[in-house]
């Protein structure tokens, strides 16, 4: 049986929104890595760089799992856990940024 297609392409638009957000996170993570390694390599700075990379990977994993869930014909709503995890990665990135800037 063919599933009815949503004429508003809502799941596709939502999937692309996740992709855009991942891209924005990538830009922030690249800037974080640049900042972390700008002052010459030291243990603290390499660790900070690794933390930022891990946060980016975390966001990527959240986005990827949600994108996979959106492939369903009538995708379930976003769970607070997924939303919280995405926001947590963002906040943690900002905390790393503050630590690097100071």
């Amino acid at each position: 049986m063919r599933e009815e297609r949503d004429p508003g392409l809502q799941p596709e638009r939502t999937r692309l929104a996740w992709r855009r957000t991942t891209l924005a996170c990538t830009v922030a993570a690249v800037l974080a890595a640049k900042t972390a390694l700008a002052g010459g390599p030291s243990v603290t700075r390499v660790v900070m760089c690794a933390v930022c990379a891990a946060l980016w990977l975390g966001f990527l994993a959240v986005a990827q799992s949600r994108i996979r869930a959106l492939a369903a014909p009538r995708p379930a709503a976003l769970t607070p856990r997924t939303a919280g995890a995405a926001a947590l990665c963002t906040v943690a990135l900002a905390v790393c940024a503050a630590a690097l800037v100071l």
Partner: protein, 136 residues
């Protein structure tokens, strides 16, 4: 809205972040397209937050001639705004989701106006600092 009701509303919302079943238990499930629209709004706010955080990094990296205080101050202002923006993104998403389930009006918020004012102030400060205080 008084400070107290804002606080208790905030506490209730934070509880909902961590007890997701409470959202499901309330009201009826809305049309999935409305939930997806709410999700996209959440993501748009998250992108705004990420852009602000990126801006914080950019101030630190690309204005090296600025005096330390100004550079760090502007970067921290942008980063703080980014954090607030992403926390608010989750909070607003939860509130909208709950309102849709209960069939209530969508929550109004003065956050967009506040954000606009903060971004304008930071932009003006940055322009002034870059033009006048280049050499510190």
């Amino acid at each position: 809205m008084t400070g107290f009701s804002a606080f208790s509303g905030f506490r209730r919302a934070v509880r909902l972040w961590f007890v997701p079943r409470e959202i499901r238990a309330e009201g009826t499930t809305p049309d999935y397209r409305f939930s997806l629209a709410n999700e996209r709004t959440f993501l748009a706010w998250l992108r705004t937050a990420l852009a602000l955080i990126g801006g914080g990094f950019a101030v630190d990296q690309f204005l090296p001639d600025l005096r330390w205080g100004w550079r760090v101050g502007l970067a921290l202002a942008l980063l703080t705004t980014g954090v607030l923006c992403s926390l608010r993104a989750v909070n607003h998403w939860v509130r909208v989701e709950r309102a849709m389930r209960r069939g209530e009006d969508l929550p109004v918020s003065r956050f967009p106006a506040l954000l606009a004012v903060v971004v304008a102030v930071v932009a003006v400060a940055m322009a002034v600092v870059v033009l006048l205080g280049w050499e510190g």
